[in-house]
Symmetry: C2
DNA sequence: TCGATACTTCCATAATCATGGAAAAATGGA
DNA sequence: TCCATTTTTCCATGATTATGGAAGTATCGA
């Protein structure tokens, strides 16, 4: 993962509404939620939510899929793990250090290695 | 960790210069680096670096200590772990899911539990 | 094809943030 | 105390970001 992508991902999360959306989707798991349900759950105006979702998708943290007339959004667990990996890379330069174990969700079957 | 603090921490990291500074300090370990060495290593103007370091300290991600006429900055590994914990909290709402293990650096002895 | 529902794009406004030069503090040695 | 070194604060400029109303697009059922 490149520095530029990481900055984009972090910026995407560094905003109250988007952080709330992302956490909601992390908790929802791979099934996700429709835009409407997210708007309802968090009380965000549709146009604002759309702007924020676009931002999260652009950052790679969230995926969208069309399902009849709903657009379903879900968290991208793999990118989340890469992000954490990048931040903690080379921690303490060789000194003994417990590095992070991926937070890969066991129910996220969409991206086999 | 509260949502507001998390937004502040993420915003602090969502900027090329600050991300570079933070990673440098993560790699440096608890000993850290002086402001001057950071400026030199990353090629950032002193006033800009000072601005960015203040931002990182304010976010709680970085600590500073005076050492003779140098100001030494170091990463705060504990806050980093809390941040990651917050982002992945309640992942997949009860579904079987490997949650993250703290990235606590074994050489960071400054904050006993 | 019509109407209702679900979302997105466009746009103007207001707010926040990044940058580096110049001046000001703080520290320590002579 | 005086000077050199190290870092911070002040400030003006330019750039980016968040917001929600209104209009546009897409999907589905009848």
């Amino acid at each position: 993962m490149e520095s530029k992508s990481v900055v984009i991902a972090l910026a995407a999360l560094a905003q109250e509404s988007r952080l709330a959306v992302f956490r909601l989707l992390i908790q929802a798991g791979p099934e996700g939620f429709s835009a409407g349900r997210i708007a309802e759950a968090l009380g965000i105006a549709p146009s604002s939510l759309s702007f924020h979702l676009k931002e999260l998708v652009h950052a790679g943290l969230v995926r969208s899929r069309q399902e009849s007339r709903y657009v379903i959004y879900s968290a991208n667990f793999e990118v989340m793990n890469e992000l954490i990996g990048f931040l903690t890379e080379n921690c303490c330069r060789g000194a003994p250090c417990t590095t992070s174990t991926p937070i890969r969700c066991a129910t996220d079957q969409e991206t086999p290695e």
